[in-house]
Amino acid sequence: MAGARPPSALLRGVPLLLAGLCALAVCAALSLAVGTRSVPLSTVLDALTGQAHGRDAIVVTGLRLPRTLVGLAVGAALGVAGAVVQGITRNPLASPTTLGINNGAGFAVVVAIFALHLTRPVEYVWFAFAGAAAAALFAQALARRAGDLDPVRLALGGTVLQLVLLSWTSTVMLASKRSLDEARFWLAGSLAERPLSVLYPMLPTLVIGLVLALAITPALNTLALGDDSAQALGVPVARIRMAGGLAVVLLAGSAVAVAGPIAFIGLAAPHLVRQLLGSDHRMLVPGCIIAGPLLLLTADILGRVVIRPSELQVGIISAFLGAPLLAVLARKVAR
């Protein structure tokens, strides 16, 4: 099927990827310029090269540049994680959330707020990553059978784990008003108030996860044919699935740790790219590296604009924006 496509057919996607890159560059520029205090693009350019000074320059380099970089990293991580998790579970409903990643992080953060009286997103990073990783590893341990991950059990076990964690989170939040008040903003998922110092500790895990995901893309194509066929074609199914699972933990775990639970990007980006570039994972994964941040940054910019001077969490906007997109895409599904 997709794995058998000759390289020339693969190359047809390259112009689309380039177009995506251009769109992403435009988005990043807008993300630097637009906000409560709008800055002209020329000033942005000057500020980036260090020629401009004053309030505008400080806004651009001090606030918006970190925010945009965080958005790029988080969006790419979520998009790739979504593509990989759908590949290894062979289920279009799966997303990093399916492994319990968002809810694991959410529960850990709410407990940390409740027990340790934390108040700033910067302080939540390690709790969130630990919670996300623990939940995702537990979900995969549940699904292990005879040394392999069972896709159906992974999806089902992960979803169940997710519901259990969600109910515990609600319990803590309902039992303590203060936790509810602090946590509800983090739980919506946001890029605001994320300095680069939040991103740095997560960079190694992000890079390792990305490399791992790119390394297994050819094998994911074979996996799409079914376990038995993949085995017959000489792909170590169990090992590929484990590597994929690990990549998802690293990528999505870091993304959640930085930005909070953003559910929709990981689900929508692979579906969007699949419509445009086909289901070959060698195009799908690079496509998601572009589509993920594109969706996330667009949502973030809109979130800053719609209720100026206040702003709306990117998790909310991305779902609002992505939902009609996914619905329209779904209408095109031929089957």
Binding site: N91, A146, L166, A188, H271, A323, R331, R335
Partner: protein
């Protein structure tokens, strides 16, 4: 999705090979067991409380016999809550079973398809508008139906395809959840608290009016679900075979979908979107009783009722923090069962099917 389909086909084909009487007897036994447990839980839930009653006095009170004070306590305060939990549990579980079977996807459930998101949206919007408490169930029902209409508008295109509906459902759910999130973030803390309370799902303070109205409608929808069962079995064979057998697959799918949505939105109107029941109970029943039949559908309903009622009892009397909604318990109480069943099922036979 195709391998899930194959699994389902194998499961449908299995009973004829292995002997249908065995599976049938097992289902019957399990159904009896579920009935006994449900009866015990019903007795507990009408007997336990601020004024503890003897079990026989409580059951008599439920039927309107015995001491007038007992009758008042049981019928006015305890019975509506109990009945609401039973009806909603059954409705959610059957809705989940219908959707999972029709979409041939183990993750399909009203929570994924936008119905419960719609119910939350309706209720939280009412809270935001400051409307009276009595309007909230109606708003929840309206929200659920709104989600269904959105599903229909986007999902209908010269026929109903399973993949498209699932994707559209995801989109609807995501959009409505975002709307709820938006309101929770913009609310003052107290309102955010009550919104969270409601969206977690609670059976606190149900009145007979609500219970009768929703209950009657749920019973009708349940009857429809059982009538549709034959068509579902044919749909299991795949679109081509079902068409060849003379079933209009689009119409059949639409009927199943409408029934499932109605069940789920009515249940959500009664108790709020209680998580886990619709997703997990059908799986538990399938692990225990084997391939889906009309019997297992009934068992699914019973098991849902048992889970929700048991969770409500735990939330009311066993948790250290009082006043927590039932929705915080269902997953914790139900998950270990499901996980044990899942791990026990790891036989090599099933492996080869997948």
């Amino acid at each position: 999705m195709s391998d899930v389909l194959r699994t389902e086909k194998a499961r449908v084909a299995a009973p004829h090979a292995a002997g249908p009487t065995h599976a049938g007897r097992r289902t019957l036994l399990l159904t009896c067991a579920a009935l006994v447990v449900l009866l015990a839980l019903v007795t507990c839930s009408v007997a336990i409380g601020e004024v503890p009653l003897a079990p026989d006095a409580a059951l008599k009170g439920l039927l309107g016999l015995g001491d007038a004070a007992d009758v008042l306590i049981v019928q006015q305060f305890r019975a509506p809550r109990m009945v609401a939990a039973v009806i909603a549990g059954a409705g959610l579980a059957v809705a989940g079973a219908l959707l999972q079977r029709m979409f041939r996807n183990p993750l399909a459930s009203p929570d994924v398809m936008g119905v419960t998101g719609g119910a939350s949206f309706g209720a939280v919007a009412m809270l935001a508008a400051g409307a009276s408490q009595a309007l909230i169930p109606l708003a929840a029902l309206g929200g659920g139906l709104l989600a269904a209409v959105l599903l229909g508008v986007f999902g209908w295109r010269s026929g109903v395809s399973a993949t498209r509906l699932v994707l559209v459902g995801l989109a609807v759910q995501a959009g409505l959840t975002a709307a709820v999130n938006f309101m929770v973030v913009r609310f003052p803390t107290e309102l955010a608290g009550s919104a969270l309370q409601w969206t977690t799902g609670s059976v606190y303070g149900r009145t007979w009016t609500e219970v009768w109205a929703a209950g009657a409608a749920v019973v009708v929808a349940l009857a429809a679900a059982f009538l549709l069962h034959r068509k579902l079995a044919v749909l299991d064979l795949g679109d081509d075979s079902a068409g060849a057998l003379g079933v209009n697959t689009d119409a059949a799918r639409l009927q199943v979908l409408v029934t499932a949505v109605a069940l789920a939105s009515l249940a959500a109107a009664l108790t709020g979107p209680v998580a886990f029941v619709a997703l997990a109970v059908p799986h538990m029943v399938r692990f225990l009783a084997g391939p889906p039949t009309a019997g297992t559908l009934a068992l699914t309903g019973l098991a849902g009722a048992v889970l929700l009622l048991a969770s409500d009892l735990v939330a009311q009397y066993l948790l250290p923090v009082s006043g927590l909604p039932v929705g915080v318990v269902t997953a914790t109480l139900g998950a270990p069962w499901l996980l044990v069943l899942m791990i026990r099922q790891s036989s090599s036979v099933n492996r080869s099917v997948r």
